[in-house]
Amino acid sequence: MRTADGIRALVRETFAGASGGFRPCAFFDDRLDCIRIIARDCSVLETRINPYLTVLEDNYYLESGRKQYVGFTVKGARHFCDEHGLSMSAPINVSDLLNAILKAFPDLAVELFVNGIARPLVQEENIERVDVSGASGPIPKPSLA
């Protein structure tokens, strides 16, 4: 098993030349067709709300005293945005995205997620828009089994 110093050396090598530290972000993950909102660089537990939504929880929030929820993911983003009139040709307003999620999934779990976790998180972290610059190409058809 690797030592912490060995892993640190590889991380430093990987980030060589990079400047700055982590900042809360919202971006489109083209390779997995997801919108990711991330408020903290930490070890996260991913918990599925439904096939389209996942909430990110800091694995060590209890001992650190930090906030429990540190982000969320909207999966199948191209199809979701197309279905709900959110153009991916320009940055998407996170508030519009959350409104569309509420409209698409009218159930209690999603309402609690949006109003109890996602909205407070993006407001506290001042995450207003999603960078969708990685999005291009046609819209996929749903293929839920």
Partner: protein, 171 residues
Amino acid sequence: MRAIRPLGSYRDVTEAYAPDNPLSVVYLGVREDSFKQVLHQNLFTPVAQYYGIVQDGLLEAIHLFRGLRRPLMHGDDKEADKSVLVYSWRPQVDCVWSPSRFDGNVILRPAPQGEVFVVLVREEKQPEQYSRYGPIVGSIEKWNWIKEDPVLPHAPIDWRERYGEKLWSRI
């Protein structure tokens, strides 16, 4: 300690058990594009987890699943969800990046209780061939912790709802 093994369009290649045979070893790679995304956002902890958990840990995988039960488009492939492999196991440790004012350190911790680690891999439709490693059969796309299934040890909770099929288990 093994070094990073860059190869063609891959930043690193590593061993894993084959999708069609858990007794056979194949090579997977992390594409430069995939790594750029975490680098661009300065996500140090996922990078530390790659070197500390994924890179040498894929050979500890206990289960392999194929297919995500949600829409996924990649390039022109409208059914890219079907070609995603998911390796899962219980690693011994977790890796966390602890930033300092000018630098940072990696902290190794016991793995979170009741959680498993999953690695998502996209099967390559036309694997690149290399004389030293042979074909690179998949591209590692993402890795993270998920609650463990209460019935199937080392598997993610709700794995039947998440994934298309279980290809093999090594228990």
